[in-house]
């Protein structure tokens, strides 16, 4: 019984999530083949513990991303009782296309997996958890940071296969990422400042962290009312905007009821405030009692480090 892992790459090397997927496969006790689209990361994949074979699939069609072309190139080379990928945007598309080509069911974004197969995943954007049983052969995509990565020490054989698959999606040009900051109502991560920031100019510190995270910058009503430079459009709270991001970082915000109404449905809340009694700590998942001047520089530094890995 073989599990095939479709690996993922970033900047030409094996993406760390691939080690997690191999780790998940290994815990199921299967023999593991890793298929590397475009050949990227194949030598690193061969060194992962548990991997018995690496297939490096190379061809011009991998120069740009064309889901159907990649799926046509990879499907004949992907086999097994279980096919795994990451649940990144491209990981999902690819595995769904391959699963359809092979006539096997696909289940996406799984966070727990046992042999049989039984899988756990979240539904309704995390408002509920689903347990499913899946008949083999099947395809499953796994969520990042949900499974222990495989260690190193492997030395699998790498087979290179050349494919020539026609590409039908032509990439014309890359677009600049929008330079305007995201609106609070749209962002998945928000960092907000309150009157505790001391001066609207200090919001630049929040902007820097927002840029790192691809986040929007918000403000409490107190900040909006006190400073003309902080516009109403940034306000989070009752008549400002109600937001439901995955992560809400509240800096120098006391957490009075009007602000809370706007952000308490955030999945996770990190609060930074120098006052240990500030009400915001009552709703924060992680609270740091500190001035923003002391907390933001290390926050920026460590986020930057974490995200560049």
């Amino acid at each position: 019984m073989v599990t095939t892992v479709i690996s993922e790459s970033s900047n030409g090397s094996l993406h760390p999530v691939s080690a997690q997927i191999v780790g998940a496969a290994a815990s199921l006790g299967e023999a593991i083949t890793v298929v590397c689209p475009g050949g990227f990361g194949s030598s690193e994949a061969a060194q992962l513990s548990g991997v018995t074979k690496v297939i490096s699939v190379e061809g011009g069609c991998f120069e740009t991303y064309d889901c159907l072309a990649w799926s046509k190139a990879l499907s004949p080379l992907v086999d097994g009782t279980l096919i795994l990928s990451s649940s990144s945007a491209i990981g999902r598309e690819l595995i769904a296309s391959i699963a359809a080509a092979k006539g096997i069911p696909v289940v996406q974004d799984v966070t727990g997996l046992t042999s049989g197969f039984s899988a756990t995943r979240s539904i309704f954007s995390g408002k509920a958890i689903e347990e499913v049983s899946i008949s083999a052969p099947c395809a499953i995509s796994l969520r990042a940071n949900s499974f222990e990565p495989a260690g190193s020490g492997g030395s699998a054989e790498i087979t290179t296969i050349d494919v020539s698959q026609e590409v039908s999606v032509a990439v014309k040009k890359a677009l600049m990422k929008a330079s305007e900051r995201l609106d609070v109502s749209e962002a998945d991560i928000i960092i907000s400042g309150g009157r505790g920031m001391g001066d609207p100019a200090n919001f630049s510190n929040l902007n820097e962290i927002a840029d790192l995270l691809g986040a929007a910058v918000g403000a409490s009503r107190a900040a909006v009312d006190t400073w003309d430079d902080i516009p109403h459009s940034m306000q989070v709270g009752q008549t400002g905007k109600t937001v439901t991001p995955s992560l809400y970082i509240a800096v120098g915000i006391s957490g009075a009821i009007q602000h809370l109404a706007g952000m308490r449905s955030s999945k996770f809340i990190l609060a930074i405030n120098k006052d240990p009694e500030a009400p915001i700590f009552g709703v924060a998942d992680y609270g740091i009692v500190s001035t923003w001047e002391e907390a933001l520089p290390p926050l920026k530094e460590h986020l930057s480090e974490l995200l560049s890995n």
Binding site: R221, H232, Q238, T239, K241, T242, I257, Q258, A261, S265
Partner: protein, 390 residues
């Protein structure tokens, strides 16, 4: 938290799919376009022109009128439109009420074919804005003694006088003006560029701030002969218009009350005092329970009178009851809601005091509370008690 429109007796199940879709269309528009901007509009005292255009695009103006580009919806649908607009703000609903019931309706019911074709299609789209000139500085509850008069000058009419408290006046392309011609109250269509006509805006309001309220001033105002509404004489003309608007208001008040109730309930559940949400205190529950009772009763009144409007079996006194009752209960609910919000209730973070201030106007216009009371008194006893004369 998402808006939950109180519907305790499930009026929703009585609606047709079309009525539900129209209601949801307006509700979504209010949610996306009005609520995020209404407090600013209120602070600045403006009715944003984009709202006029978007309301026009939705095709809801003159809702129950048929033909000439008008929607031809049921009166229930018209009521739902008013409910959803007023949940946003009474000023927004006033724009639509005046346009549909007070300006489009008289042309539709009493106008000539030419007048209907000239004005109604543009008004249905919101491209032409109308207003209704009945009330005068010295004649409110007693419109019959109005002094604005029209003289027949052979090839034109000459209008002299003034109207006051006119919603949409300053932005209107046309005004349906009621004036005495040889002692008879008649309707005249005055266009904004007519000589001798001006419509200055009234400033300094504490209520309906996101609505345009104006005076209409006629100083030897010359209008062509074809502007006279041929189909009606006497107070029956303006009163028919008012009955339609009043009907819409009975639903609109429900919308305002629903907004205030929703805010009070959410606030009471999140405000913690003495270690508990105030929603756990008996006095607060008593207030919320009273609000639910009154809103439910009001909804049933509005729905029933809507059905009677649709099958034609209504009488004006039934509309007086609905308007009076529902506005009264909405105003009381707004006050009670403000009370539950505590000091926070005075901020425009919450809609309650805006609704409260608006409803003071809604209680007075389209027939004051007291006048509707006496309309019912006359219906019950057969004896009018509006004046001292027999």
């Amino acid at each position: 938290m998402a808006y939950e429109a109180l519907d305790f007796y499930d009026i929703d199940s009585l609606l047709t799919e079309e009525e539900r879709m129209v209601r949801d269309m307006v509700r979504d528009w209010v949610e996306e376009r009005v609520l995020p901007n209404i407090e600013d509009a209120c602070r600045d005292g403006v009715f944003p022109d984009e709202w006029r255009a978007e309301i026009g695009e939705m095709g809801i103006l003159g809702a129950p009128l048929k033909g000439y580009g008008c929607p031809g919806l049921s009166y229930i649908a018209y009521g739902l439109i008013c409910q959803e607009l007023e949940r946003g703000d009474s000023g927004v609903r006033s724009f639509a009420s005046v346009q549909g019931s007070l300006a489009m309706y008289p042309i539709w019911d009493f106008g000539s074919e030419d007048q209907k074709e000239k004005y109604l299609p543009g008004m249905a789209k919101g491209d032409l804005v109308g207003c209704f000139g009945l009330t005068e500085p010295d004649y409110g509850s007693n419109p019959g003694d109005m002094i604005t008069r029209a003289e027949d000058k052979g090839d034109h009419f000459l209008l002299n006088g003034a109207k006051m408290w006119i919603t949409n006046g300053t932005i209107a392309d046309l005004a349906v003006v009621w004036a005495k011609l040889d002692g008879d109250i008649r309707g005249f269509i005055v266009e904004k560029d007519d000589e001798g006509f001006s419509a200055p805006e009234m400033k300094g309001k504490h209520s309906l701030k996101a609505s345009v309220t104006s005076e209409l001033v006629f100083q030897d105002c010359k209008i062509p002969k074809d502007r006279l509404l041929p189909g009606v004489r006497g107070l029956r003309g303006p009163f028919s218009c008012l009955n339609n608007a009043r009907y819409g208001i009975s639903w609109g008040a429900v919308g305002a009350a629903q907004s205030c109730f929703n805010s009070a309930r959410e606030y009471a559940l999140s405000r913690i005092q003495f270690g508990h949400p105030i929603a756990s205190f008996q006095l607060v529950q008593n207030k919320l329970s009273w609000m639910l009772r009154e809103i439910t009763k009001g909804q049933l009144l509005a729905y029933h009178i809507g059905n009677k409007k649709d099958d034609g079996s209504w009488i004006p006194e039934q509309i007086s009851l609905a308007k009076m009752n529902n506005v009264d209960m909405a105003l009381e609910i707004a006050r009670m809601s403000r009370d539950i919000h505590g000091a926070n209730g005075i901020l425009d973070e919450y809609p309650v005091m805006r609704h409260m201030a608006n409803l003071e106007s809604v209680k007075t216009y389209e027939g004051t509370h007291d006048i509707h009371n006496l309309i019912l008194g006359r219906h019950i006893t057969g004896i009018q008690s509006f004046t001292r004369e027999p």
